[in-house]
């Protein structure tokens, strides 16, 4: 088939209206043709638009929920926060974080935050980029009027926890855990910080009325016994 003939098949493939050898030839072509792949993305979007959103069945969700609970994929709902790689910047970054609100404008941004290869420095840099954005929430966990950690939550859901040197380390059998308090005053786990917390990230896009920092058994818990270090709430 010519390129022109192949290109003509894109809308038909997007509707799953090809079969047999013709479909096989087209799929093979797709592997090497970015132009057809891009056109396919567009036509698949058109096809999906032919269907309006509708209410989802509760019964089917129960089946899905049961299936993902029994396949071992959800053994724990406590998710570790994204952690930095150990690196030489740790002490320096923490020191910077302690006076973050005063000096964030001067922090040098060295790289982008992504899922892999986070460093304490890159987390602090990413936090510095969102701390003065409209809609960003900023608060400190205070113990005896000393900040032990700062929480920054950007409007797009990216969250950062920046512990200070005043946060006491725990023994290895315990961990700090961060909780988000929603408008129903439920505390929802945002992740575990470890026994010697370093700058970390989390994701949250729901409503927030505050944060809590607790001490828990190593690995974190889904239901806290309430050993609360400090709480940040709205006035």
């Amino acid at each position: 088939m010519s390129n022109h003939e192949i290109m003509d098949l894109v809308p038909l493939y997007a509707l799953d209206a090809l079969e047999g050898q013709e479909q096989a030839d087209f799929v093979e072509h797709l592997e090497t043709c970015s132009q057809c792949l891009s056109a396919l993305d567009d036509y698949q979007d058109v096809a999906a638009n032919l269907v309006h959103d509708q209410p989802a069945s509760e019964e089917i969700w129960e089946r899905i929920s049961s299936a993902i609970s029994t396949d071992g994929a959800t053994e724990s709902k406590v998710v570790p926060l994204a952690r930095p790689r150990p690196n030489m910047f740790w002490r320096w970054t923490t020191a910077v974080a302690a006076v973050f609100a005063l000096v964030f404008g001067a922090i040098v941004i060295i790289d982008n935050l992504d899922d892999q290869g986070l460093t304490s420095h890159s987390i602090a840099a990413a936090a510095s980029r969102v701390v003065d954005q409209p809609g960003t929430l900023v608060g400190d966990f205070f113990v005896n009027e000393v900040s032990v950690a700062q929480v920054i939550l950007a409007g797009d859901g990216r969250g950062f926890v920046i512990p200070t040197e005043s946060l006491d380390p725990l023994d290895e059998s315990r961990t700090y855990q961060l909780w988000v308090i929603n408008d129903a005053e439920d505390a929802i786990s945002a992740g575990v910080l470890g026994n010697r917390p370093e700058p970390s990230t989390f994701t949250w896009t729901g409503k927030v009325t505050g944060f809590a920092l607790t001490r828990e058994v190593a690995g974190g818990v889904v239901s806290s016994a309430g050993d609360v270090v400090a709480v940040i709430t709205e006035a």
Binding site: A47, I64, G226, V228, V231
Partner: protein
């Protein structure tokens, strides 16, 4: 306006003890995230509440497509479950650079439903029995119209009847263009042209609306 003026700062108030739910314990509950990127990140982090939110946003549309193609409720429900469990197990199969999460889920659902229809049709041919749902080739304009948003209905209204029928049979009945040609008693080349032309029109109109 400076960003600093717009910043919302939570007053730094220490409350001790924390305001606890009635049980006296802190609980993990579902959150109400609505942003797809955040929800996908949640699924990547094995947060089943994120998957539930995605299901509640798109599960109905996924179910509709599966039911239209399969015309069998039990099989359609299996497809919906399969789509979301598969996404849970392999969320990295979704590439946000290639399109929306909604399109990704609907594309998978449609393909799986079509695969079932065709494998059942092949089995029926081998065994000489009725194919799945005893497929009656009709064009249900009412369902076709009801399934769409107003924007898409307006776009579809710009198609010729022949184009609309060909696309409807291919997408909602899960027919190949060869089968569509047989159903409409038209040459295969003609049906290919109608599907191609109709999809191009829809693409142009919807792209214009999106601007």
């Amino acid at each position: 306006m400076g960003g600093e003026d717009m910043m919302i700062s939570l007053p730094l108030v220490l409350e001790n003890p924390i305001r606890l739910p009635r049980s006296g314990l802190l609980h993990v509950v579902s959150n109400d995230r609505s942003d797809d990127a955040g929800l996908v990140a949640g699924v990547l982090a094995e947060d089943d509440a994120a998957l539930e939110s995605i299901y509640r946003k798109y599960g109905g549309a996924v179910h509709f497509v599966a039911r239209k193609v399969l015309r069998d409720d039990a099989l359609a429900e299996d497809v919906v479950q399969d789509v979301f469990v598969s996404f849970w197990n392999s969320p990295d199969g979704f590439d946000p650079d290639r399109g929306s999460l909604r399109t990704y889920l609907l594309t998978i659902a449609h393909r799986r439903a079509v695969d079932i229809v065709r494998s059942e049709a092949a089995r029926s041919r081998r065994e000489g029995t009725s194919p799945l749902g005893d497929q009656v080739i009709d064009i249900d304009d009412e369902v076709w119209a009801r399934s769409q948003s107003e924007i898409v209905r307006n776009a579809v209204a710009q198609l010729s009847e022949d184009e609309r029928n060909a696309i409807s049979l291919a997408y909602f009945k899960g027919l190949t263009y060869v089968e569509v040609a047989k159903a409409l008693a038209e040459p295969e080349g003609t049906v290919k042209s109608r599907i191609r032309g109709g999809m191009r029109k829809l693409s142009l109109v919807l792209a214009e609306v999106a601007r």
